[in-house]
Symmetry: C2
Subunit: 345 residues, 2 copies
C-alpha cells in the first residue's frame, strides 16, 4: 500500500526573527517500511523554542545539527500510530514516539537510536496517560525539568527556587516539581495573566511580571533573603539577576537561553559572573537528553502527580500540520502558555 | 615597651588603573597587646590581584569588604614573628601568619577568626618550610589551586586540563598540581619567556602565548581533541575560548577574573555560555577560603612535593613595605612571574 503525505520543510534560514515564509509544506511520497522499520501515522508533534538554534546555517557546537533546506526536518519529537510494521516488537495500532516529526507519515528504523536516544522508537502506555502527554510532562519536557532540578541544581531540603519563564512548557513543570517536592518556589513570567496563573493554578509561593520593574528589585521583593537555586531557560538579564540574588553555594541549572535564540550578534553573557567566585556558586548546563537514565523514575513520579491531579499542565494546541511554523513563531514570541503541540490527525 | 611603625593606607579610590599615588605610607603608634592578643613584627606580606576588587568604594556582593580610605588595610595575609604575647598558646619568637598585613607591626586577637578563617592567627612550622612559603604554595595560593582542581573542577583520571595565567601565582601551582597528579596540562601566558618557563621549568605538556594568535586556534593546536577542565583566573576571552573547547561533561573552576578587575563598565560575560547547555558543562565558582577543611591535606602533599624538589615555585620579592603599592601595580599589569611578596623586615 503506498502513501503520500505532507511534510514541513525549512526553505530559507531566517534573517533575524523567524517568519512562516521561511518554511514550506510539501506533499511527498512515503515509501514502504523495510525490514526493521515501521510506518507511523503521526498524530501529534512538538514545537520547541530550542528548534530556533537549528534554523541557522550552523547550530552551536555540540548541539543538534542545523536543519538542511528543502528537506524533512529530522529530530523533532512526535507521537503517532503504527500503520505497518516490519520490525520485531511493534505492530499496527501501537502508539509510539519517535523523532521524525513535522510530517504526516514517517518511516522509522526501530533499532537506530535517534538524537542521543531520546526519540528512539518507543511504544507508549496510553492507559497510564494520554498519548500527547508524552510530548509534555511525561516526555522530553518532563525529563528536562526533572534533570535540571534534581541533577544540575542538585535540589536540597530548604532550597528557595526561582524558575524563570514559569508559565512556559519546561518552566511550569520545573516550578511544580520543586513545589511538590516541598520547596519555596518563585516564578516569573512576562504578563499579569501568566502571573495569575502561576499563583492561582500552579500555587507557587510568589510570582512576578518581569516587565513591571527592574528584575533585581522584583526578585528581592519575592525572595528578600535571596535564592538558592535558579532554573534558567531565559539567560541574559534574568541570569544576571539570579547571580546577584544567589546565596552562598547557590546553583544555576542552565537549560538554554530563549532570550538569546533570536540574537544574531554575539550573545550577551552575564556581566556579573564574578558573583560565582565570590559566593561559591555552581552553574551547570544540561540537556534533558543526557539524562535518559532518569526517564523511568521521572515518568513514575510525574505520572502519579498527573493522575492525582496535583500537577497542572496547560497545552496550546494548534490544529493542522501546515500551521507548525506559525506555532513556532508564537512560541518564540513568548505568546503561549505551557507546551505547544500541533495536532496532525 | 611602646612601638611605632609604618602602615600602607589607601588614600583615594583608583580612577581606572591603580597608581601608587592612590596610596600613602603613614607612621603610626602601635598599642600594647591586651589579654588574648599578640604583637607581631611583620616580616613578609602578600600582594594579590584580588586586592583590586577592594580598592573601589564597594566591592562585589559577597566578597571581602572594600578598604576604607586613610586607614590600615585589613585582611591581607602576612607572616611575622611574635614580639610580645598576652594570648595563650603563643610566645615571643613564634613565627605566625595572620591577616593584618601591609604594616610593620600588627596587634592581633588570637581568638577571632579573620576573613572566613583564613588569616586567623596560626603558628607556622618553619622547620617544614621557609616562613614565606606559607604566603605561597603552603598558604592561600596553594589552597586556592588545590580547591579549584580537586573540589571545583573535581579532577578525574584522564582529564586534559588548561590553566590560564599559568606563570602566575595560583596558575603555576594549579598547573603543576594537575601535572603531578598525572594529567595532560596545557598552560598559557602573555609572553614567550613565560611560555619557555612553562615548558622548561614547570614541564607542562604544551604551552602558548595568548597574544600570538586567536585563542581558539592556539588552544586547538595544543589540545586538538578539546579539553575537560579549564582553570580560570582570567575570564573574558579566555573563558569564551574554554567554553568553545570543552568536551561533554567538561568543568570550569572559576577562580576570579583578573581581566575584569580593572574594568569599570559592566564586565564582559562570555558570549557563548550556551555551550554549557549544549555540552553538559559545569562552571563552578569558588574561594580558597571556603575550603579551609582541605588545608591540612594540601599542606601535607604540597610540602612533600616542595621538599622532593618536584614543585617549582618562583617568587617576585619586592624589598620594603613602602613599595607594596608599586608591587600591586606590577601584579595587575601582568608584569610578574609567580607570587609577589613584599619583604618588610
Amino acid at each position: 500500500m503506498s502513501h503520500s503525505g505532507r511534510e514541513v520543510q525549512l526553505h530559507s534560514y531566517p534573517n533575524g526573527e523567524v517568519r512562516t515564509a521561511d518554511f514550506q509544506v510539501v506533499e511527498a511520497a512515503v515509501r514502504d517500511p523495510r525490514p526493521g522499520e515501521v510506518l507511523v501515522r503521526n498524530t501529534w508533534t512538538s514545537v520547541d523554542p530550542g528548534l530556533r538554534l537549528r534554523l541557522n546555517e550552523t547550530s552551536p557546537a555540540g548541539y543538534f545539527a542545523a536543519f538542511p533546506l528543502d528537506a524533512a526536518m529530522d529530530g523533532i519529537m512526535t507521537v503517532g500510530q503504527v500503520v505497518e510494521s516490519s520490525a520485531d516488537g511493534f505492530e499496527a495500532g501501537d502508539t509510539v514516539w519517535h523523532a521524525s516529526g513535522w510530517r504526516d507519515y514517517a518511516v522509522v528504523d526501530a533499532a537506530t537510536p535517534a538524537l542521543s536516544g531520546l526519540g528512539t522508537l518507543t511504544r507508549l502506555d496510553t492507559e497510564a496517560a494520554a498519548a500527547e502527554s508524552y510530548l509534555g510532562p511525561l516526555g522530553a519536557m518532563g525529563l528536562t525539568a526533572w534533570a535540571g532540578l534534581f541533577e544540575a541544581a542538585a535540589l536540597r531540603d530548604g532550597d528557595v527556587v526561582w524558575v524563570a519563564a514559569a508559565a512556559g512548557a519546561v518552566g511550569s513543570l520545573a516550578a511544580q516539581f520543586a513545589k511538590l517536592s516541598g520547596h519555596r518556589v518563585i516564578g516569573s513570567a512576562g504578563s499579569d495573566d501568566k502571573v495569575t496563573y502561576l499563583l492561582d493554578e500552579l500555587r507557587l509561593d510568589a510570582a512576578f511580571n518581569y516587565k513591571k520593574a527592574p528584575l533585581a528589585a522584583l526578585l528581592r521583593e519575592s525572595a528578600p533573603d535571596g535564592i538558592d537555586v535558579y532554573f534558567d531557560t531565559v539567560g541574559g538579564d534574568h541570569l544576571e539577576a539570579a547571580l546577584g540574588a544567589l546565596r552562598r553555594h547557590g546553583r544555576v541549572a542552565l537549560c538554554g537561553a530563549i532570550s538569546q535564540y533570536e540574537n544574531h550578534g554575539p550573545a550577551h553573557g552575564p556581566s556579573n559572573l564574578f558573583q560565582a567566585t565570590a559566593n561559591d556558586l555552581t552553574l551547570r548546563g544540561f540537556r534533558g537528553s543526557s539524562n535518559l537514565h532518569r526517564m523511568q523514575t521521572m515518568q513514575k513520579q510525574v505520572g502519579e502527580w498527573l493522575r492525582d491531579g496535583q500537577l497542572v499542565y496547560r497545552t496550546t494546541v494548534v490544529d493542522g500540520l501546515e500551521r507548525a511554523p506559525e506555532a513556532l513563531v508564537r512560541v518564540l514570541s513568548g505568546d503561549t502558555v505551557g507546551k505547544t503541540l500541533v495536532r496532525i490527525a
